[in-house]
Structures are given as structure tokens and as C-alpha cells.
Amino acid sequence: MTQRVKFYQTGTFTVGNRLLDEENRTVQATVERSNSLTSGHRACQGCGEALGARYVVDVAMREANNNLVAVNATGCLEVFSTPYPESSWQVPWIHSLFGNAPAVATGVAAAMRAKGREDTRVLAQGGDGGTVDIGFGCLSGMFERNDDILYICYDNEAYMNTGVQRSGRTPPAARTATTPAVGPTKGNAFGQGKNAALIAMAHFIPYVATASVADLHDLEAKVTKAMGMTGARYIHVHVPCPLGWGSKPCDTIKLARLAVETGLFPLFEAEHGEITEVTQIRRKVPVEEYLRPQRRFAHLFGKSADTDALAAIQQMADRNIEKFGLSG
């Protein structure tokens, strides 16, 4: 199956770098990019996390004048990038445990301070499980102490590395290996889960943002902004996972964009606990358009379509649009 190539995708700001002035092009478009997560790693085709990490780390490297240490939680990103005896990392990189990346990063930053080398910047990263579930205590500690670390959560909405189990970021109704689409209420329960970015804001840290691989210019801009600040900073990046979501690898960007345009994944920035910027939705999309291409939501459609669940998810999206003022 082939996808029809379009030069300009209607209704979005997505443009090719060639149409932009040089200074507005992405770091990825430059020959100076550090290729920190270099080619040859073992991520799946269409992996949103690999794409997001590549953009994030290269921008962080540029902003740190290549003077950067990266700390990684256990998870897909760690596993696909460092199978013995290979490593895709061209930055000093450490993986310790699943739940301690923020604390390890605190240690690295403390060591740099002790040695008078604050110019060495520290980036920590993990998936949604490593960040909002098992690592949340350490993350909150790192926020609360306002340690000088940029933490990136790549949110693909489940434990993908262990085979797609539910996390605290799994959306309602989604089928995972531990929230199967069987029984009276199919998939993940409604009324659960947590918004890590809002909780991060409640620590009044200098910078919190949400971002998406659907808008890589925006992602780069947010990482650039975060790197220009000191103290604890948090960016929560939405990264579709074809394997876990049951979507086509070629649909990763499309789904990430639909998550934003439905209102299910609002893009915003916050400084010291206050929202400062919100990305407006230019063309509101019904949630069905986002959910239907994903097999994890297949039980909501077809003969025994769960219209109640669909309506409830639409309500969530509408509430987000209202709450964050996404429709201008």
C-alpha cells in the first residue's frame, strides 16, 4: 500500500524545511546536528519515541554546545539503543534503573556542580511508565529540589517494551495486554490516569511543556527554550507507537497530529506553575477520526460499536478544549 505524497498538508503548519529560511529550519536539517542518537538502532519502523528522542537530544546538544550528559530510564529507548555490544549514543549516556533516572540525573548534576563544571548540562529521559508510574517519586523529588535537569517523557501511553501493558498514561477504553477488550467494560477504565505535566506544574518548576512529534518545529523550539533556562524543566512528548497502538508505521505523525487536533493531547507551555502558551487547534477533528485507525480502540467500532465510550472520549476532548482554551 502506498501513501499519496503531498507537498503541503491541508490544515496544518507542517512545511518542508526547504520552504523555510535557514534560521527557521530544524536542527535535524543542518549538517551540524550531533546525531546523538545515531542510525543503526533497533527501534520499530514508525517509532515515535525514536523520532522524538532524535530531535530532542540533538537540540539539547546544540544548546549545550555539545557539553551534555544524558540519563535514561529503562524502557524501549534504552533497549533499542544499547544492545550489547552496540550503542547508538554519541553523548555520554547512562542507564541505571527503571525508576531512578531523575535521581541519577540529580547525581550527575551534583557532581558537575561539585567540580565547578555547571556548563555540562544534564538531560534525563524515559517513557511514560518510567516517568509517570515507577519513576514518579524520584521525578517529584527532582522537581521539588529544582535540580538543574531537563527531563523528557516520551509518552506512548503504555508499557511497550514489556509488551503493551497499561500505564498511568493509557487512555480510557484503550486495549492493552492488561486491559483486554473483553468483558462488560472493554479496554482501560474511564476516570483513571494522571496528567503528569499538570502535576509537574504543581511543583512550580521553571518550565513545563507538552509537545508532539506531529510538530517537530514546536518540539525543537520547546527544547531550545527549556535549555535556555536552569532548574527543573519537564517536557512531555506525545509519541505514537505502531506496535502498541496497532497502527500503521506510516501513520505515526498523522495520529500524533490527530491527537492534538481532537483536543485529546493539548499542547501548552507553563512557567513557574502558570500556563503561558497554548497551541490553538486550527481545525477541530472528532475523536473518532483519531481512534478508528488504531487497533487498540477497534472494539469501539464495528457491529458492537461502543457509542457510550466514544461519546465519553469526545467529552474528554471537548473538556480539554474548554479547559486549555484550545479553540481560541
Binding site: T82, W89, W93, I94, V104, G107, K115, G137
Partner: protein, 417 residues
């Protein structure tokens, strides 16, 4: 300089002399005074540019130390009991990564029932986590072993726990000779890491290793411990040259050379044991002791040569394995394998129960006459145990054991029906 000082404060001063660059602190009794004292020393600027990080858990404390050590900083933390268990995953990880972190364990029992007092259940639970474990008998020992611990850890790139008995040492005020800065500087060179997170020379640390090389990585960790068996006595001798005090290296014998009965133990109880030995020697009984300083690596050959002429061996230990018996005794048996020497175990001091000279004297006497049960639980109140067993037999819902016993002892509420 001689000081009349609390054990924890003495250890804090020793740590300060070792010039740590990152200290991570989380409170847990009975180690808390150590990190409290260090926070003051850091704020007063007495440890250079040392970074003192108050963290949210012991798991974070050791994780911060992991990050700091990987970035080339001399890192230190302290914990006890539940705290050590809470950081267990990071304990193994620090050893697996080969990071020379030094951590004090203020030895304390593990709950339930929750108990803040001393025994060795905590560090024993982590005995196979890849850390070197050194046990202090006195607060002077604790000071001296910490200084050696940093040198040992960094020389071999392996983490070291210095275990000292909670309250018995951590809270005891006694005379301690706090070394001079010049002496420590001469003994402990700056930390030169074998691996470091350095943007000028990027490395990947903590990569995933499968069946093709995992065994080799694990063997090399074992090899470090085998090296430590050689290095610990060397460092101890070098330390004695500079500081004039001998911590004994791997083991320290006391009147054991010609002894028919030799008592083996870890930590502060060795002081009481020596007193009992003196009493028994006065009565003409041929007894001696061997204190184990290094429990990991286990001093297999040194211990064997110290014990091989004994007619019997008694192991006194403050921890045990349910359904099995002593833990230390297992390693002692391995050291003496092939010999027919009777080896008795005395489980003592659990959850802080005092180990008295009277009780040890009696138990050693029974062992010398080869009339002791094995393992022997020192000063166990059999009436309470029999009563509780009878109660449990009588009815299914016999209730929580700990509360029942406290009621039996008249310590809380009324008697259970």
C-alpha cells in the same frame, strides 16, 4: 585528635576528612545522626565544594550517588534497615556498574514487627549484592574503616558498605582518635575513575547485556572481590603505618592461636566476647575469638588458617535465615570444608536484645562441653513461645503474634482471650 564523641559524629568527621564531593541524605534511625552532622559540616564549608542533596527516599539516595559516581565524583550515603531494603535495586545496580560508592550501614533489624534496634538482618539481606562489606567493632574501627573504604572502593572500582551496629556504636559516646587531615590526604588520593560520563570522551554506561557476555561481566565482579581479599590486608597495613592503628585487614584474632574453642563474630559484640574469653581463660578454659572484619569478600583462607587447629568453633550472629539457621555460619563452614570440626551457632541480639556477658558465658560453657543445641537462640523466652504456639493451636483466628506477645508480657492492653 582524641575526642569524647558520639559514634555518628565521629563517622561524619571521618567522612568529611575523606573529601566526598556528593553526599545524599535520607533519614532513617539509627544512621540519621551521621547525615545530620554531615549537613552541618557541608554548610560550614568544611568539605570544600561538597554537594549535600536531601532526597525523597533511600532509593533516590543511592540513585543520586550512582549518578554522581558515574560522573566522576566521590559519593557517599548512609542508611539502615528498611532503607537499605528500599534501595535494594540500586544497591545491586551500583555494584553491577562498578561504581565506588561508600555507604554506611547503621545495622538495624528489619520488620515486621517494626523494630528500630540493632541486629544484622539488613546488611545480611544484601550480602550478595556485589558490595564489599566491612564490619566495625568500635567507633574507632568505624572511623578507620571508612577511610580505608574510600581507598578500597576507588582502587578496585567497587562499592563498599561499612557496617556498624545501630545505637550500640552509632549512638555511643566514647573516646575516638579523629585523624589529621594530612594523614588522610596522604592515605587517600583524589578519585581517579576508571569510567566517567565525560562529554569530551562519550561512553555508554549501563548498556543491555545478553547471554553472550553477562556471565563474563558477572565473573569480573567476582574477580574484583577476589582482588579485594589481597588488597584489604595491604591497605590495612598501610593504614597502620600512617595512623598507628591496626584494623586487622580481613580478620582479627584474639587469644585464638592456641585456643581449643574459637568464637567467630561480626561487629561490636566482639567486645563482649573478648571480655567473656578473658573470664573463661581465668578459669583455665582454652577459648579465643576471631573477629571477621570483611564479611564480603569472605576471608576464606585467612579464616581457615585461623580456625583449622581449633577443636570446636562457635559462631555468634545477629541474623538468621528462617527454616535454616545461621547465615554467617554457612560461610564459616565453607571455609572449614573437609574438616570435622564441630561448629555451633548462637543466634543473639535480635532486634536489639542485649547480649550479656552472663548469657554468653553460659552458652559458651555449654558449647565447650559440646552440650549446646544448634542453632542456639540466646536468651529465648520459651514460655512465651510455647504460650503463643498453644494459642495458635487452640483457635484459627489467634490474632497478630506481635500484639499477642506484648499482651502476654503485660506491655499493652489486657490479656487476649
Amino acid at each position: 585528635m582524641l575526642k569524647q564523641i558520639e559514634g555518628s559524629q565521629a563517622v561524619a568527621e571521618a567522612i568529611a576528612l575523606c573529601r566526598p564531593e556528593v553526599i545524599c541524605a535520607y533519614p532513617i534511625t539509627p544512621q540519621t545522626h551521621i547525615v545530620e552532622n554531615l549537613s552541618e559540616l557541608v554548610r560550614l564549608g568544611e568539605i570544600g565544594n561538597c554537594q549535600y542533596i536531601n532526597v525523597e527516599s533511600e532509593f533516590a539516595a543511592l540513585s543520586v550517588a550512582i549518578g554522581a559516581s558515574a560522573a566522576g565524583a566521590r559519593a557517599y550515603t548512609a542508611t539502615s534497615s528498611q532503607g537499605l531494603l528500599f534501595m535494594t535495586e540500586a544497591v545491586y545496580n551500583a555494584a553491577g556498574l562498578g561504581l565506588p560508592i561508600v555507604m554506611t550501614i547503621g545495622n538495624r533489624a528489619i520488620g515486621a514487627p517494626i523494630n528500630i534496634w540493632n541486629d544484622h538482618s539488613d546488611s545480611m539481606a544484601l550480602r550478595d549484592a556485589g558490595w564489599i562489606q566491612l564490619h566495625a567493632e568500635t567507633n574507632q574501627d568505624a572511623v578507620d574503616l571508612h577511610i580505608q573504604a574510600f581507598r578500597l572502593a576507588e582502587q578496585l572500582s567497587v562499592p563498599v558498605m561499612v557496617c556498624e551496629d545501630g545505637f550500640i556504636l552509632t549512638h555511643a559516646y566514647e573516646r575516638v582518635d579523629i585523624p589529621d587531615k594530612q594523614q588522610v590526604d596522604a592515605f587517600l588520593p583524589p578519585f581517579e575513575p576508571v569510567q566517567v560520563l565525560d562529554p569530551a570522551a562519550p561512553v555508554t554506561m549501563g548498556a543491555m547485556v545478553g547471554p553472550e557476555a553477562f556471565a563474563e561481566v558477572r565473573y569480573l565482579a567476582h574477580h574484583k572481590h577476589l582482588q579485594a581479599v589481597e588488597v584489604i590486608p595491604q591497605l590495612s597495613a598501610e593504614f597502620a603505618d600512617i595512623f598507628g592503628r591496626d584494623t586487622g585487614g580481613l580478620i582479627q584474632p584474639y587469644r585464638s592461636e592456641d585456643a581449643e574453642t574459637v568464637i567467630v563474630a561480626l561487629g561490636s559484640v566482639n567486645g563482649t566476647i573478648k571480655d567473656v574469653i578473658d573470664e573463661m581463660r581465668d578459669d583455665g578454659i582454652s577459648v579465643g575469638a576471631v573477629k571477621i572484619v570483611a564479611f564480603r569478600p569472605f576471608p576464606m583462607l585467612a579464616l581457615r588458617s585461623a580456625l583449622e587447629n581449633a577443636k570446636r568453633v562457635i559462631v555468634v550472629e545477629k541474623a538468621f535465615a528462617d527454616g535454616l539457621g545461621g547465615i554467617l555460619v554457612g560461610s564459616v563452614r565453607m571455609a572449614l570444608r573437609g574438616l570435622t570440626t564441630p561448629i555451633y551457632t548462637i543466634i543473639a541480639g535480635l532486634g536489639g536484645r542485649p547480649i550479656t556477658k552472663v548469657s554468653l558465658h553460659r552458652a559458651f560453657g555449654e558449647a565447650v562441653a559440646d552440650e549446646i543445641d544448634d542453632p542456639h537462640f540466646l536468651d529465648l523466652d520459651w514460655a512465651i513461645i510455647d504460650h503463643e504456639l498453644a494459642r495458635a493451636k487452640e483457635k484459627r483466628r489467634s490474632g497478630p503474634i506481635a500484639e499477642n506477645i506484648l499482651r502476654d508480657l503485660g506491655l499493652v492492653g489486657g490479656k487476649p482471650v
